[in-house]
């Protein structure tokens, strides 16, 4: 009597119906197997090896020796300072520059899409090519140094400040800012398109000053996207290898570079120390992301 229901014909034809949970499991398992397996496996095995597990060389001897050795190494301590400096300054500069660029471009009437295209040109450039670009632009024999010489500001290569292979990490920061501020800018622009203009218009009509509009209307609307983006930028600049390797020094080097130096040491006893650094990098990124998100959640809640 009730066979006229919309689901009836299909159900009648197929006696065997796959339960929903099995369907979901089947759809998720390949990704969980590949990504979860390699990722969790990598983190877990790295942790085990940092605590004294030596695979295929016989033996578990649980201890914290690797962490003590790493902590005592002056190269690691110098590396901490450098890595935090690079990640912090790059993220701050990229966020400020990216958001400003987006606000500026958003208010340009004509050619906005052309302008956005030009601005996003660095996005698909691989970081390794970006590092080469910075080398050709900023090194003491680079294009900028030649321009300052032509302008009469410097006489020789040595008079141009060392921006690559320097102890501070200027070249590394420059590469990250160049690559990441367009990233912040396009995400901010996407957040700005969703009806922000109408709200700003309403606030203006109600007598808000430009700064008040920005502080109380625009900023709360874009800050979730900007926050998420700057977390990604921080995590990336903290854990990336090729840029600090090509544009920095062997000492002090960024944490990932030091980790790989340990890992490739001919002495296998340095392996657990490499693992300890890998664990420290993962944990620091995780903790920083958590702290940052908590702080920002409070800021965003207080803003309106």
């Amino acid at each position: 009597m009730t066979a006229a229901g919309p689901g009836a014909p299909a159900a009648g034809r197929r006696a065997l119906r796959v339960p929903r949970w099995a369907l979901i499991l089947a759809q998720l398992s390949p990704a969980l197997l590949v990504v979860g397996g390699l990722f969790a496996g990598g983190v877990g095995l790295g942790l085990a090896q940092s605590l004294g597990y030596l695979p295929f060389l016989g033996g578990w001897s649980w201890n914290l020796d690797a962490y003590r050795a790493v902590w005592a190494d002056p190269a690691v301590r110098a590396s901490f300072a450098l890595t935090f400096r690079i990640a912090f300054l790059s993220t701050a500069a990229a966020t400020v520059l990216g958001v400003s660029a987006a606000l500026l471009v958003h208010r340009v009437g004509r050619f906005r899409s052309a302008l956005t295209s030009v601005l996003s040109a660095p996005l698909p450039v691989p970081h390794i090519v970006g590092a080469l670009c910075m080398l050709l632009l900023l090194s003491q024999s680079g294009l900028l140094s030649r321009v300052t010489r032509a302008a009469g500001l410097t006489e020789t290569q040595a008079e141009f400040p060392a921006l690559t292979a320097d102890a501070f990490g200027w070249g590394i920061i420059a590469e990250y800012v160049w690559k990441e501020s367009p990233f912040v800018a396009v995400v901010t622009l996407a957040a700005l398109t969703g009806g922000v203009d109408d709200l700003v218009g309403a606030a203006r009509t109600l007598g808000a000053r430009p700064w008040q509009c920005f502080r109380h209307v625009v900023l709360p609307l874009i800050s979730p996207s900007v926050a998420a983006t700057s977390i990604l930028v921080f995590a990336f600049t903290f854990g990336s290898y090729e840029v600090p390797f090509l544009l920095g020094r062997p000492f002090p080097a960024a944490l990932p570079v030091v980790a790989l130096q340990y890992y490739r040491d001919v002495d296998l006893a340095a392996r657990p120390q490499a693992m300890a650094l890998a664990v420290v990098i993962s944990v620091l990124v995780a903790v920083l992301v958590a702290v940052y998100m908590a702080l920002l959640g409070r800021l965003v809640r207080r803003a309106p």
């Binding site: 929903r20 759809q27 969790a40 095995l45 450039v125 390794i128 983006t229």
Partner: protein, 264 residues
């Protein structure tokens, strides 16, 4: 119109670092104080098409690995995106976290732990091993983008096709695939670009034998000839820029796509 001028100036500044790269790639002799090269030369570009150099092999390896990674990442990531986009189920947040964490935690820190096992089980120094580790950064983005795509996908169309008598395969081919084609194109584009730009994972797993273009570029940068290095650099940059230009309409429509771009 001062604002427009400032905006254009800013945008032009972002193009500036590409200028010395493009110039070096075609310069013959460009010593220190010279603002422009003394002479142009096709030496760098000739290297790119020289069958005896390692660049063509590197290009083939990069394209092969990129293509295989793209297909596999889509095949693995899109179903996961479907499950996450269409259904709510217990433990969903945990699954989302596990599938997104590799996008945030640095790949190097993850790979050091399993490298010795890849070595042991014969995956190190093979193309297969490189493809496998390239899936770790690519599948999360495909999953993320496809989760968004499936959240906006109406399963009703599939049900209608089935009611009208289409089998599962025909429904997939004629209903699901056309509806999701733009999202799949963007997701595949990212998977390819992430694989195309990857350096440190390839170095650790493929080290001696699998030489992709980024590994070759590294060697050329550390060598003496900047013209050759810049030419190889241009070879690495031009395909992504062309792809972005081709896909710009789909890309600008999706904020998720832009998040993907930032991770290259």
């Amino acid at each position: 119109m001062r604002r427009a001028a400032v905006a254009w100036l800013l945008a032009a500044t972002f193009l500036l670092p590409l200028v010395p790269l493009a110039t070096w790639a075609v310069s013959g002799q460009w010593r220190y104080p010279d603002l422009l090269p003394r002479e142009t030369s096709g030496r760098g570009l000739a290297l790119l098409v020289d069958p005896n150099s390692d660049v063509l092999t590197g290009l083939t390896t990069s394209l092969l690995i990129g293509a295989v990674v793209t297909v596999l990442a889509l095949a693995v990531g899109a179903p996961a995106g479907r499950a996450l986009g269409l259904y709510t189920f217990p433990g969903k947040r945990v699954v989302q976290f596990v599938l997104l964490a590799p996008a945030i935690v640095p790949g190097l820190a993850v790979l050091l732990g399993i490298q010795v096992f890849l070595l042991r089980y014969g995956l190190a120094d093979t193309v297969a091993g490189v493809v496998l580790v390239h899936l770790v950064p690519t599948v999360p983005y495909v999953t993320l983008l496809m989760t968004g795509a499936f959240a906006n996908f109406d399963v009703g169309y599939e049900q209608q096709a089935r009611v009208l008598g289409a089998g599962p395969l025909r429904t997939f081919w004629h209903v699901t695939l056309p509806a999701l084609r733009p999202s799949l194109a963007v997701a595949g584009f990212f998977a390819f670009l992430v694989s195309w730009s990857e350096y440190v994972l390839t170095l650790l797993v493929g080290g001696g034998t699998v030489k992709t273009l980024p590994l070759l570029l590294f060697a050329y940068v550390r060598g003496a000839d900047l013209t050759e290095a810049a030419a190889v650099g241009m070879l690495l940059v031009v395909p992504p820029l062309l792809l972005v230009a081709l896909l710009s309409r789909q890309l600008s429509g999706s904020p998720g796509a832009m998040v993907g771009l930032g991770r290259l």
